[in-house]
Symmetry: C2
């Protein structure tokens, strides 16, 4: 298996190394040969090549079995012409990654660290399906003396494919999909609602479907997060809502994500950013990236047992309190990674 590593910026390299070490142990244990190759993206790529997504990186990613990314961005590149985030957006588009999955489970051992009351967050188990290649992210932009514009675009086909992915997943879970839009204002949202409703009726009538407006959803996710199973939404709303709920479990450092296309390799990355303030100090929580590696095994390499093994090891380590400072623990990035590796062994 060829796995491309994109360490990127800030804490990216540290957490990517942690996940690679865990994958190597899994490879030894289960007898798989994981070939890792490292490539440049984001600010690191701008520094070296002038471009946030060099052609060599793009070519390696589309040819790989899977891609594991650390983080991109940082104040160092603010105001420059080339922006690190362009690398992330460009690789999503180049790999055709239309569905970004962000699972969130609030572990009972960490529920007390949530800013929300324990009785509200305990037992939360949901997954966000965020559309990743459409919306305002890739529409035409203009700028003149008087002002600026961004075009938000969705095609029927773009909505259909991510809706199907969400309904499929709901089938394997509690059978409920909440589709989020702003249909009282946006035409793309009215189209979104129509298409999701049709795909549901035609292909997944046994799934429970509800629609919510993005503004009220921003409230409901805080008041009653346990009510949700699969949340399906467009690119920008997904960006905002999935970050909002990322604080529910006590630390954003724990959370993984998977970005998938119709076929071809997926891209896996932690939800947290590049955290330049703590970069290179062995302080970053490696768990989000390690759990992203588990999603990589499951979704791109179809190695379910191997994925389960990582997730069980992480759960054991969290339960034992072997955690980094963001969770009130005393371990550094390396030591927390070793704890997971020991638990796998």
């Amino acid at each position: 298996y060829t796995i491309v590593l994109l360490p990127g910026d800030g804490v990216g390299p540290e957490v990517t190394r942690a996940a690679r070490d865990v994958l190597s142990v899994i490879g030894d244990f289960y007898g798989h040969d994981f070939q890792f190759t490292e490539h440049l993206i984001g600010g690191a790529a701008i520094d070296e090549t002038g471009e946030p997504l060099p052609e060599a990186t793009r070519a390696a990613c589309v040819a790989a079995d899977a891609v594991l990314l650390g983080a991109v961005g940082g104040p160092k590149w603010d105001g420059g012409k080339a922006r690190p985030e362009q690398g992330l957006l460009a690789i999503r588009k180049a790999m055709g990654l239309f569905a970004n999955l962000r699972p969130l489970q609030v572990s009972p051992v960490l529920a007390h660290r949530s800013p929300l009351k324990k009785e509200i967050v305990e037992g939360v188990d949901l997954i966000v399906f965020r559309e990743l290649t459409g919306g305002v992210y890739f529409g035409e932009k203009t700028r003149d003396d008087k002002g600026a514009t961004d075009l938000c675009e969705y095609t029927v086909v773009e909505i259909e494919r991510v809706a199907r992915a969400a309904f499929h997943t709901a089938r394997q879970r509690r059978g409920k999909v909440t589709s989020v839009d702003k249909a009282n204002v946006m035409e793309t949202s009215r189209l979104w609602r129509e298409v999701v409703t049709r795909i549901h009726a035609e292909e997944f009538p046994e799934i429970q479907l509800e629609h919510a407006l993005v503004d009220s959803m921003a409230m409901h996710l805080i008041r009653k997060p346990r009510e949700y199973d699969v949340i399906l939404t467009e690119n920008m709303f997904g960006d905002i809502l999935s970050d909002e709920i990322s604080v529910l479990g006590g630390s954003i450092g724990l959370l993984p994500s998977a970005s998938l296309g119709a076929e071809g390799p997926g891209l896996f990355e932690p939800i947290h950013g590049s955290a330049p303030d703590i970069a290179g100090q062995d302080l970053a929580n490696p768990v989000g990236t390690i759990l992203s590696a588990a999603l990589l095994l499951r979704h791109s390499l179809k190695l379910e047992d191997e994925a389960d093994s990582i997730e069980a090891a992480v759960a054991a380590v969290l339960a034992a309190g072997a955690v980094t400072a963001d969770l009130g623990g005393e371990l550094g990035t390396r030591a927390a990674t070793e704890a997971v590796i020991d638990a796998i062994r």
Copy 2:
């Protein structure tokens, strides 16, 4: 003083009546002559005239000293060609209401009702300035067989005027403005950030200005809401973020809003929606609308003492636990209104 009442739909008529009664008492007490006229908007207007904003309503609003609105919308009008929300959007545009202010204070007596931990929300005191006449709300929309688009537009002038309003308010508060955008993706956001930065440097250098991305702001508002003073943002982000934080204080039923233009009358309304499920049952919390009436007195009629008097009465009533069911109390809409009126007397 001429005050136009727009009761609208669902619980709108009940809560508007409550606020009007409070205003009448204030008028008697301080010797002002408030002339109330009622007009149609939203679903009620569609039922009667076919249009969500009849011309008579528009004309009355622009000619008034201030406008007090209940709520618009409901499932009854879902899927119809004319939508109740169009009435709200159209009146905002017609009155030139570019700044929507949503103050949020978490009362110590109600902090325990928040879904967030008491130690996180206690003492929150912030105000959101949401731009109200630009962005994706009013840009061109298209639809064809293949897909749909919405245009998000901002002009320099639109950003300047709402930024000035926010900086002015910050001067009278704790002197801090947090401007929220998505400058790593949107051109309108990059313009937003430039214009806000320039207005700050040229006109309000003594104010502390920080910029935040909307996704991380959605997190920060839950993790550390006390850090914010004035939050300045564009129309859609303001819609989402202000609804998100509306749950911090225990009930959205408490929260007022003011929508102001450069000159001319302002429009005042509670943050909550039309709540058709409890409409007409004397269950709605009138406080959000009563506090909106206080904002009306302060901002449009410049009656500061009168506004203070309503706010003090509401605080006393909340402290005494004379509240509606959403706050765990036993009072109906009428009785809760009477409690406020008694406290004013």
